[in-house]
Subunit: 132 residues, 2 copies
């Protein structure tokens, strides 16, 4: 599948807001690269956890994809959102394997205030998860 076709499936997923549909999109050995933490998070379970947390943190009413860049096996999509009055400008960098499954998902945001805000919110969400 082309990157564009794979990307359309990602947009459909984001639009549908159905966390259970995430599993079918990810390769078993998918790696998540956080905007905050250096260490890559490997595997479907931890990536789902992070992407779920990220979706919860970022995916409010203000969230918009505003730009799209393609490569042979990947895409970079730019997003804007506002959380607690802090404007967040970021990108999702996604790579797919030949089966159309996501093997790498990287997030970067700017400016510094936005990174700090995500740090605070992601930490709170992951702490809550660990308490369950």
């Amino acid at each position: 599948m082309t990157s564009k076709a794979n990307l359309e499936r990602w947009y459909d997923f984001v639009k549908a807001k159905d966390p259970s549909a995430l599993d079918a999109l990810l390769a078993d050995d998918v790696t998540f690269y956080s905007p905050v933490v250096h260490t890559p998070q490997r595997g479907k379970m931890i990536t789902s956890l992070y992407l779920g947390a990220a979706a919860n943190v970022l995916g409010g009413d203000n969230f918009r994809y505003v730009g799209e860049y393609l490569s042979g096996d990947g895409a970079v999509i730019e997003f804007n959102t506002v959380i607690d009055g802090i404007e967040i400008d970021g990108i999702d960098m996604i790579t797919w394997n030949t089966d159309g499954k996501i093997t790498d998902f990287k997030v970067m945001v700017r400016p510094l205030k936005a990174v700090n805000k995500l740090h605070e919110m992601m930490a709170a969400m992951l702490a809550q998860f660990q308490k369950r």
Copy 2:
């Protein structure tokens, strides 16, 4: 010109390490978006200053472009570098006008440690400039 052709001219500029060549690549109304600061920096002079500082801070021997994503009028290129032992993973997001001049140049980096490192180094460089 295609984004790919414009991008090749950017790579040539980075390889040549000749700051005086930057002027010809930028549109008069170019805007620079810092990975650290929210406020966009408008105009050729301030953008040259920031890109020059960024090149000085980031462009050491460790600097490598490692990924490339294209759109109709722009590109995202991913880079890796190491500064004072801190691994920096970032992107340049560049938009060109129909004359092949850069109108927008945005930088994002991850993880948080890398943003903080850039913050510290860019502040020091810009302070030095202001003293001149």
